[in-house]
Amino acid sequence: MPEIVEGDRIRVTGRSDTCFFPRTERETNYSRDFDGRTSDGPFLLGSSVYGRSLRFTGRGECHGIVVGRGDVRIDVSMLGERQRFRGGLFTNGSIDVAVPRTGLRDSLVGDIKNASLLVRGDVVGDNIHLRNTIVVGNVQGSNVFLSSCVVFGAAVASEQLTLSASSCLYYHSRLLTFEGPCLMLQAMGDSAVRPSFVPLEDGEGEAWSPEVLYYPVIRRDEGHPLGNRPWAPSASARMAKLYPAADWVTVATETEGRTPDAAPVSSDRTILTIAGRALNLGALQIGVEQMAALLKISFEFDHYSDRGRREALARVRAVTTDEEYWVFANALEREALA
């Protein structure tokens, strides 16, 4: 695994099973580039990474946790490139993902296998901009922008959260914007103000109206897409639609103070809830329970033995849709699947 020092940057290529941590004080000032576009092929990092101003370019994988000081930039802007992080991304700066400029149909919304980045674990930073990314974990930051993403977890933003043709399990933010066709894997979320619904213009200039669907309803349909595809609506799309007037309610909430002696803080929150409209919750229960089982297996997967892992994947296969299985199999297994 060659490690080349170029000015104030250290470029890493090829395969390495060691962890990247500055061993001298001098090394803390270097930035690190992990380049998968060289003749050494994709970068393969078997352990964790810490560095200042990290950059991951081209194809590659990192099996450990990535902790950055400053910005983390992931460049998969060439067609066919994909990176996978199996330990999560953490930084005190910004996280930015560069992907090919395509339309919505050619992103993971059209086909989940078009995903450019797969992260198993949490993505935590300050300003986070994920594109064409699948996250099996939470995304947390001050300003979070998800574009053509699928988040099997919470999208949490202390300031602004923007879901642009994206899907998430639930959200928590102060300000929220839905851009284009979005999908809620669960009808849960809260924000300080009512969310905004704005149209989306994708990379090819095609405009998409804002629409939010509830995934467990369309999950029963053939195809089971993990994204909202307005060009090929599901048979249950009309039933799955969430309406701002009916499904987002503003309630007065009271939360505990920051210290034990502090008085409770009262505030208005806008909550996403289908409890006021959904009638046959029993029909949704199966889908919800299957997704819960899926998440549980994914969290416990590392603790299974080899035989246990095979059995777990078999259980996953039995309760998931094709796209769900593809996501979790790629997130859990060390070897990438097709």
Binding site: P22, E25, T28, V67, Y170, H172, M188, D190, T253, I271
Partner: protein, 367 residues
Amino acid sequence: MSEGSCNCGGQIAALESMISRLDDRIQVIEAEMADVAQAIRELGGHLGGKIDSTNNHLKVVQAEVVAVGAALLAVKTSTEDGFAATQRLQERQTNAMVQLDSVKTYTEAVALARKGASFGKEVDERFNKAVEGIVLNRVLYDKHFGAILQEFEEKVRAIGSHIYSIWEEDFSPLEKAARVPTSAYAEVSFEVDLQRLASRSAQLDQDLEMIRTQHLDPLVALDGNFVRTVRETYAIDGAVEGDAYFVPAVVVLTADAAEVTVDRCAVAPSDAAAGEIAELEPMGRAPAISAYCASPAARERVQRDCRTRPMTEAEKAQLVAAIKRLAERGLVSPRLVPGFVQYVGGVQMSMVDGALEGRGVAVAGDR
């Protein structure tokens, strides 16, 4: 002091003897005076004229005696005063001696006590000094050892300062953020969902109860009323075994009469007596029109002779008129009449002919 005491005692004794002698002398003088007075009186008795001078002489003598007595009393008084003064002086001297003795003893005792107290104080001071010395030594020890430890840590930190800075500036905030369970963000949504579901459930219970009391119960009562009314209205008079009869019913026939759907029909038992009310029973699909006939004979006749033909417009109008007449008589709910009319006008209705003379079974009208 003893000599003074002896002198005072001697003087007192002398004075006492003098006083006693004076007392004796006074007594002697008083006795002599009494003798003189007696003698005088005797002389007075004998001497007449010399009594006054003698009396005067006696008076003078008496005055002198009195003066002597007064002088003796004064001496006695002064002697007594001197005695008392001497006694007081003696007492004072005795008290002074006692006081001096006691003061001396007290002073000695106080001195001894002071000596003991000063000794104890000195012991305390030395003990406190010893303790202070120990504390100072301990403080010095802590100070020096702390300085050594701090220097060690600073050296370690100096070697790995970049590691500490990474831990404090990068990892600690991320770890702190990761410790917040994300389920905490979903609590509000859960609570709102549960509250909405609970309120909807309560509202649903309330609505169902209202539907039951305002709609379902009246319908059930109407149904019961209908059954009772039809029974009373269509009671069988003079029924004879084997008679075939028809009652108002809604019958739906397929084109080839292969299936019959009958809403209600009346079937009299074969041994029905005159006046016995027919039992009404709902029937579903029957394999043939003949299945609902009252008796086997009628059934055979229906099977042999019944034919279906499309209902003419006149017959439809007649059926509608019959329905309206039933509504006027209160046998059919007026609210159902428009639905009947619409049904008759909208479906392909057929007449069943041939079973009996007169109308077929598809007509609801007068019997």
